[in-house]
């Protein structure tokens, strides 16, 4: 009797262990990731915003993809080439299916290009990327030919930012249909399950994915805007990985054996736009007695230089950013295409800055309010306070005001501020596109200076840049871009401060491949053993 009882017990125990082990294995294939910023939409063509773009890479794919160093690699297109200066041919990958089982064809690509500029109420459109294409010709179901009006070397890079949607589901779909999941059907490695704004996005594996099976069955992205909450969620095991580890905690977490922390310099430069749009004092800039001035000081290159020299970039990097940043001299770290090795970060020289201000006619300085976002960039509210310190040392009366990102960027775009702390991540990974957006004389119809909130303008620079943008020869083009960068940085078209170093932390057993574009994508997260 007794042996039988024990045998039974053993069987029950064994069975339950097996059951436990399988659920554990299952649970390990279901992972949660803590994100800092909210996803505003699941429509891949609605809002050109880094957190959205990062999320879209799970569900959708572009013709061309970017690897973790932002190098272009084949995506839904297996090859592409410029037939002549104005004509490009793209060959589509065969046997790619959307999540509903329908095959990907050239029709879907043509439909996507038509949809992108026509998404209603888009807060930040993707049309910049598709505008250069004036004609789309479908040669066969897997070959497309694009025509541009002028030579457009950035075409492959631009198209890497355009996610291909299904024509079948997208034709009558609105942004709401994508948000609700009805139209959110792509070719990517994960499928839509649930999207709850400001809370979470849930995706599940697309087992028939052409690129091979992913190691995860289910992904839950939790929006944890508060940095301490994000860290706590990781430490408690609520999530397996977080992005944007607060700089104050990095040192301690790097020592923790139960965590793996990875970081990498990013394509994001933190910089200052000085509002040069007005003849007289720009908003929030006054003389010492608080009266508007007759001249806009920011239009004087000496003042701009002084404002750059007054900044102790090493102090910001060392003290505010806890060394998780690199002093900036241009718009991208000099490992990227089109950057000039000749440009070095402006040397900290408060005495020289004072002298330049005096030369420009402000021996006693002036007064201004520094404006910036709170919580959009790493330690943004601390950086701006440090800047205020530096400026008060050279005799400028300085105040600081920060706003939540949603308020701040709209007001900055309306030029309601004088001195604006901003950031720019260059998705294309080459400096011409950043200069085109931030420094070229503003002309939205031509896609120039779209985000030039400083309204800096220099015809000689514009000419060089435009010439670079139509030069097909890579070597020659890079020379032109470098020349343009040296010119515009010499004139302090904007004040570069530092490049952010992005940091991810994962629980034991997980390994994340850090990316320069700051994107948090589950496809870069693997089991470490």
């Amino acid at each position: 009797m007794i042996p039988r009882f024990i045998r039974r017990l053993a069987i029950v125990l064994l069975a339950s262990t097996v059951a436990l082990a399988t659920t554990a294995a299952h649970a390990a294939r279901d992972i949660s990731i803590g994100l800092q910023a909210a996803i505003t939409s699941m429509d891949p063509h609605y809002h050109n915003l880094s957190p959205n773009n990062s999320m879209m890479l799970h569900v959708f794919e572009g013709l061309i993809k970017r690897d973790e160093n932002q190098k272009l690699v084949p995506g839904l297109a297996t090859s592409w080439k410029a037939i002549d200066d104005l004509t490009w041919e793209f060959k589509l990958r065969k046997n790619v299916r959307f999540h509903d089982g329908s095959p990907l064809t050239a029709d879907d690509v043509a439909f996507t290009l038509k949809r992108v500029p026509n998404v209603p109420n888009s807060p930040s459109s993707f049309a910049t990327f598709t505008k250069p294409i004036v004609d789309v010709k479908i040669v066969d179901p897997h070959t497309l030919v694009f025509k541009t009006a002028t030579p457009h070397v950035l075409l492959p890079s631009d198209l890497a930012s355009v996610m291909i949607v299904s024509k079948l589901h997208g034709e009558k779909a609105t942004t709401e249909d994508y948000n609700a999941g009805k139209a959110c059907i792509g070719t990517g490695p994960y499928k839509y399950v649930e999207f709850i704004p400001n809370q979470r996005v849930v995706l599940k594996a697309n087992y028939g994915y052409w690129g091979g099976e992913e190691p995860w069955d289910k992904l839950t992205f939790k929006i944890l805007t508060n940095a301490a909450a994000r860290v706590a969620a990781l430490l408690s095991g609520d999530v397996q990985m977080i992005e944007n580890v607060p700089t104050s905690d990095i040192a301690k977490m790097e020592k923790d054996k139960n965590l793996s922390v990875v970081s990498k310099v990013s394509n994001r430069v933190i910089y200052v736009h000085l509002n040069q749009s007005t003849e007289k004092s720009p908003p929030f800039v006054f003389d010492k007695s608080g009266k508007p001035m007759d001249k806009n000081p920011f239009r004087d290159v000496r003042v701009r230089k002084a404002l750059s020299m007054a900044v102790n970039r090493d102090a910001i990097v060392d003290r505010v950013m806890e060394k998780k940043a690199v002093p900036a001299a241009q718009l991208l770290p000099d490992i990227f295409y089109g950057t000039s090795k000749k440009l070095k970060p402006t040397r900290f020289d408060p005495e020289g800055a004072r002298k330049l201000l005096a030369e420009a006619g402000y021996p006693n300085g002036f007064s201004m309010t520094l404006h910036g976002p709170a919580g959009r960039y790493i330690n943004d509210d601390k950086v701006i306070q440090a800047l205020a310190q530096f400026y008060s040392r050279i005799g400028i009366d300085t105040k600081v005001e920060t706003f939540p990102a949603s308020v701040y960027f709209n007001r900055a775009t309306n030029l309601e501020f004088g001195y604006m702390l901003l950031g720019w991540g260059t998705e294309s990974g080459e400096q011409a596109s950043a200069m085109r957006s931030l420094l070229a004389t503003r002309d939205p119809a031509k896609g120039m200076g779209v985000n030039n909130r400083g309204r800096y303008t220099n015809p000689a620079f514009d000419k060089l840049l435009e010439q670079a943008l139509v030069t097909m020869d890579d070597k020659k083009r890079e020379g032109l871009i470098q020349q343009a960068a040296e010119m515009v940085m010499g004139e302090v078209g904007l004040i570069p401060l530092h490049y952010e170093v992005s940091t991810w932390a994962a629980a034991k057993g997980f390994k994340y491949t850090a990316r320069t574009d700051q994107y948090t994508v589950a496809t870069s997260l693997k089991p470490s053993k």
Binding site: V231, K252, V320, Q385
Partner: protein
């Protein structure tokens, strides 16, 4: 009946001194008020003057020296601000905001409370229903909404605090005044043909003051805590001029990295201030309550 006749004030003072704890609270309060009044004199640094703080001195521990050789007894925050000076100036703002908003809310409360009690009827009903509505919302919620609409600044915080506090006083005044209104001395004053306003402010008001003083002292502590909460949440004062709440909030981000002093000391200062006020308020309540008198 003994020979020594005490004035009411002497009576209150001697009753108050009967509790050692209350005396301790009072002494602490005197110190805190002294620091707040003389903050610019006693602080080693003006923490709001950006030329005096240096980001290179940031996050130094208590007792460490700056690059210029100055010792930071309580360490520095993430901008290199001397914590001791930051706390002194922070106390100044906290106490100033607390006291000023309480006095203003008290005046408003007295005005509405007396009006309601004296005239009764519809006016009473109207004012008291407004109070009821106001009191049914959490104070922090009303303050948050107000600050979101008004923007930043000391004046805005005071407006928000007055708005969330006046109803307490109005209710207390009305209750006390209703009791007093039926008493003989008021009848007598009426009989003498005195004007309403004279009876209200010269006869009724002094007699409803004791409970008000108690409520006001407790409310100062509430107001200070509320101001700190709002600053902690990032609403209220500019980030370059931190009050205690903002100092605590700044340090909160560093708690996990072991830099405890940025939050701890301002928190301690806030705690001691509120405890001191509450000790004093407790004893005042006992002393001023006629029912507890021996």
């Amino acid at each position: 009946m003994t020979a020594a006749v005490q004035t009411p004030f002497q009576r209150i003072a001697s009753d108050f001194a009967a509790s050692k704890l209350a005396l301790l609270g009072f002494a602490m309060l005197v110190v805190v008020i002294g620091i707040a009044l003389f903050a610019p004199v006693v602080s080693p640094q003006n923490p709001y003057d950006l030329t005096q703080i240096d980001v290179m001195d940031s996050k130094l521990g208590p007792g460490e020296k700056s690059m210029a050789g100055q010792t930071y007894w309580l360490g520095t925050d993430d901008q290199g601000r001397d914590m001791l000076s930051g706390i002194f100036y922070g106390l100044r703002i906290s106490l100033g905001v607390g006291v000023l908003s309480t006095i203003l809310a008290l005046s408003l409360g007295i005005l509405f409370g007396l009006t309601a009690a004296w005239f009764g009827g519809r006016i009473d009903a109207l004012i008291m229903r407004i109070c009821d509505i106001q009191l049914s919302f959490p104070a922090i919620l009303i303050a948050l909404i107000l600050l979101a609409m008004l923007g930043q600044g000391v004046d805005k915080i005071i407006i928000a605090l007055i708005t969330v506090q006046w109803a307490y006083y109005a209710r207390t005044v009305r209750g006390a005044a209703l009791v007093e209104r039926g008493k003989e001395y008021v009848e007598a004053a009426r009989g003498l043909g005195l004007s309403s306003s004279r009876i209200l402010f010269r006869h009724l008001l002094p007699n409803v003051l004791p409970p008000l003083i108690v409520v006001a002292t407790v409310q100062v502590a509430h107001a200070i805590a509320l101001e700190a909460t709002l600053s902690f949440l990032g609403l209220g004062l500019p980030i370059t001029e931190p009050s205690l709440g903002l100092l605590i909030s700044n340090g909160f981000q560093y708690l996990m990295s072991g830099k405890y002093w940025i939050s701890f000391y301002p928190g301690l200062a806030l705690l001691l201030t509120i405890v001191a006020i509450n000790l004093v308020a407790d004893q005042l309540r006992d002393v001023l309550n006629p029912r507890l008198q021996k």
